[in-house]
């Protein structure tokens, strides 16, 4: 595997985790771009020898690969204003945006989408994180596969439509799954039940679904059509309108998945 010189456009959760992982894997981060220069400096300071910049003219940059780690809605306008060295590859890291957003920015472009939840304050290893690639041509493909393989054991190629589906599934798993934990936190807090009580359950819920599949793993009042418990639970949620509606809807959806005489 080759070592690459890489510039990162962005200073958020994905930019932070990717920049640190790429450097850890032996690549060189030449520049961090931030609209807010202080944020770019904050991230550059966590790296070996990286320049923080707030301009998009990279014609003098040594980087060969440019990562757009910015919000979906910013990709198009940033890509239009980006000035790249000859023969550079530009990629975005979005689950939901098409590769074609980059077609007018450079001759060589692609998508580098890691299926994971990132936060600036929580730097995680990418070794087990699937990286989904899309490439403008075979040469770009070769470079991106090489680069992704230096970070992760799981490199996939998904086209823009498949990647959109993967991102939607990830929203259910992570964003919505995490939100259910927040709602459970509220329920426990209101009765002064310590939330530590649920740590083992949170972890086993995930591990069990991975190990035996979520359909085999499903348990609970809705699965076994225990209407008494369902009614009691609804009445306990009478002053939490979102939780009450979510309880009813998810119970119905589970009952729809496991009809009464299974």
């Amino acid at each position: 595997m080759a070592d690459y010189k890489i510039a990162i456009i962005g200073t958020g959760n994905v930019a932070t985790n990717l920049a640190l992982a790429l450097e850890e894997a032996g690549h060189f981060i030449t520049e961090i771009y931030g609209r807010d220069l202080t944020l770019a400096m904050d991230l550059a300071n966590r790296l070996y020898e990286t320049e923080a910049v707030d301009y998009l003219d990279f014609s003098e940059s040594e980087a060969g690969i440019f990562f757009l780690c910015i919000s979906d809605s910013a990709i198009e306008s940033v890509a239009q204003n980006l000035v790249l060295p000859a023969n550079a590859i530009v990629v975005h890291t979005s689950g939901s945006m098409s590769i074609q957003l980059l077609a007018t920015t450079a001759s060589y472009y692609g998508v580098f989408y890691p299926i994971q939840t990132f936060s600036k304050t929580r730097i995680i290893s990418l070794g087990e994180v699937p990286i989904c690639l899309e490439s403008s041509d075979g040469d770009v493909r070769e470079v991106l596969v090489d680069l992704a393989s230096s970070l992760s054991n799981f490199v996939y190629e998904l086209n823009s439509e498949e990647r959109k589906v993967a991102h939607l599934a990830a929203v259910f798993i992570n964003n919505f799954g995490n939100h259910l934990i927040s709602l459970a936190t509220d329920i426990a807090k209101e009765a002064d039940v310590p939330f530590d009580l649920f740590n083992a359950l949170i972890l086993e819920t995930a591990q069990k679904a991975v190990d035996i599949g979520s359909d085999m793993a499903q348990t609970g009042p809705a699965k076994r059509n225990d209407e008494n418990t369902i009614i009691t639970h609804q009445s306990m949620l009478s002053n939490q309108p979102y939780s009450a509606t979510i309880y009813r809807l998810l119970s119905e959806s589970i009952q729809n998945r496991f009809p009464k005489n299974e």
Copy 2:
């Protein structure tokens, strides 16, 4: 800690995991009761020297503690038909039922509720699983704390109301969280996206919520009010009515939790 002689009433997910864990911790399982004797024999055969029975007259039993590991709706009638030796303790393992259901069965009674998701086919260690106790008196309390401590490092005392709340929170975390993974599986499958892609995300979602708390961990289109992505996702779910409604409701609930100008 003392070793106890214990009879288990029930042959399901909780009965199986508790019986095996109790034996592993050095206790002796005297009998397994099953309405269906073959199920009782299946479980008894996994234990050292345990009798399978299909009657509820335990007046000759050597057991000092009786575990009701049966469905909520069966506890009352089974408890009424149970005949126990003098001075025996009877406990149920339900999150949602009151301790008082056992008050006419024996002089010594309690609740022994492990906050975990159990399946017969997946035997898990109880070392990190919180066990919530409730006791009819101080003597019972002493025995149950001693017994629970032989299985788990996390022993709590919750009254019937607190335990009901804990069970409701557990339904959100486990039953509903697992169901979201099932819905994500369907979304991926319809587009032939391999579900292995999401294993790292499932596990990190749980670990991150435990480590930094779910509010800190929240990310995604709803959190950042990315209406374009939300609308695209809704349109992708147009032929999956439950998933579409769940997407809309959970996104609203996240937006309600993180108002626009946070």
